[in-house]
């Protein structure tokens, strides 16, 4: 039996022990984790992540190269005006109904919008009072449909001005050609 055991040991010595032969993927995991954290930060910092083009909202084009900033978001589509995600005024083909304006059809102040903007302004001023590092500067980011008539835009702008929002930032698609338009913008 001793001879058989030594034969078994000799056989075992001839067979190499199995070793782990996988690639070291730890550097790749490190890199991916850093990339993931960077992207999550980038994503959360961008308010444009909520903009979705639709037949009701055709984003216009601009040759500007300025980066998007943070501000109160005001969205003007063909059917409504939304402030910070809350629907405030209904529009009919991009126009404000005279009953929603002070002074009727010739009026400029959109009353439901003015009420909402006053709320937002008061809240931002309260935040600014408690945190001096976030002063109220009257910034507003406007995402408007490319077909919105200037009459509606001027009513919105007038209402914004009445509520101390004077720094306007219009959101647009980047282009290199002045006057480029989306396929349905000119309809």
């Amino acid at each position: 039996m001793g001879q058989v055991k030594s034969m078994a040991r000799r056989r075992l010595r001839r067979i190499p022990e199995e070793e782990a032969q996988g690639i070291n993927i730890y550097p790749m995991i490190d890199m991916m984790t850093i990339l993931l954290v960077f992207m999550v930060m980038q994503f959360s910092a961008s308010s444009a992540s909520t903009i979705t083009a639709s037949p009701e909202l055709q984003i216009p084009y601009s040759t500007s190269t300025a980066d998007m900033g943070e501000a109160v978001s005001l969205l003007i589509s063909r059917g409504d005006i939304t402030v910070d995600g809350e629907r405030v005024v209904d529009l009919r083909n991009g126009m404000v109904d005279p009953s929603d304006k002070r002074g009727g059809s010739t009026g400029f102040l959109i009353t439901p919008l003015a009420r909402k903007l006053a709320e937002v302004r008061d809240m931002q001023k309260e935040i600014a009072r408690r945190n001096p590092r976030r002063p109220f500067e009257g910034d507003v980011q406007i995402v408007a449909d490319a077909r919105t008539p200037f009459r509606t835009l001027s009513e919105v702008i007038y209402t914004l001005g009445q509520n101390e929002f004077s720094q306007l930032h219009f959101v647009a698609n980047k282009t290199s050609i002045i006057g480029a338009r989306s396929p349905v913008a000119g309809e």
């Binding site: 055991k5 998007m68 930032h169």
Partner: protein
């Protein structure tokens, strides 16, 4: 001389003279990170898709004319340049009156249009040329007021701002003030 083995010895040799091949997951003591990698790769794909669409957006900044500026003493001299988008074209004016085509001189006739429309809409290249001429004549001026007729679409307003803001890499009128007033 070859050793003649009994059946029991052969079985012993078979059982103890070979190594049992281990499962891949038993080869090392490390954690199985493959599921984690799957999650991370999927998340990166999703975020890349979202961020690439965000990267196509830009913003055009403008301000409203403020009433009640806390100026003490005389206000600084300004040309009061203004651009108005109308039905038949673009009206450019300064403090002295409406400007003629080319924006070199003040217009004397009754036709108010400085840059007439072309077949397919406004002539942005001509407006850009006009703004370049004005900037060459008044290099210190950077403020311009933009307005439009009620029916003019927002896209045209943005294009007008683009045309008067820069020419290639040269900055023209960077301080664009939007006027809510209508003609």
């Amino acid at each position: 001389m070859a050793l003649k083995l009994t059946a029991r010895q052969r079985r012993y040799l078979r059982d103890h003279g070979t190594r049992a091949s281990a499962d891949a997951s038993e080869l090392s003591d490390e954690l199985n990170i493959v599921p984690y990698l799957d999650v991370v790769v999927n998340l990166i794909m999703f975020l890349l898709m979202v961020i690439s669409s965000v990267a196509f957006f830009t913003q055009v900044s403008t301000s409203l004319a403020s009433h009640g500026d806390p100026h003490v003493g005389p206000a600084p001299q300004s040309l009061e340049l203004s651009v108005t988008l109308a039905d038949r074209g673009i009206v450019v004016a300064d403090a002295h009156g409406l400007l003629a085509a080319g924006c070199e001189t003040t217009r004397m006739g009754s036709d108010a249009i400085t840059v007439p429309t072309r077949g397919d809409g406004y002539d942005w290249a001509a407006l850009n040329g006009c703004a370049t001429t004005l900037k060459r004549r008044f290099p210190a001026e950077s403020r311009i007021i933009v307005s439009a007729d009620p029916q003019v679409p927002f896209q045209d307003l943005l294009s007008a701002m683009d045309a008067i803001r820069v020419n290639g890499t040269d900055e023209l009128f960077s301080d664009v003030v939007l006027s809510a007033g209508l003609r």
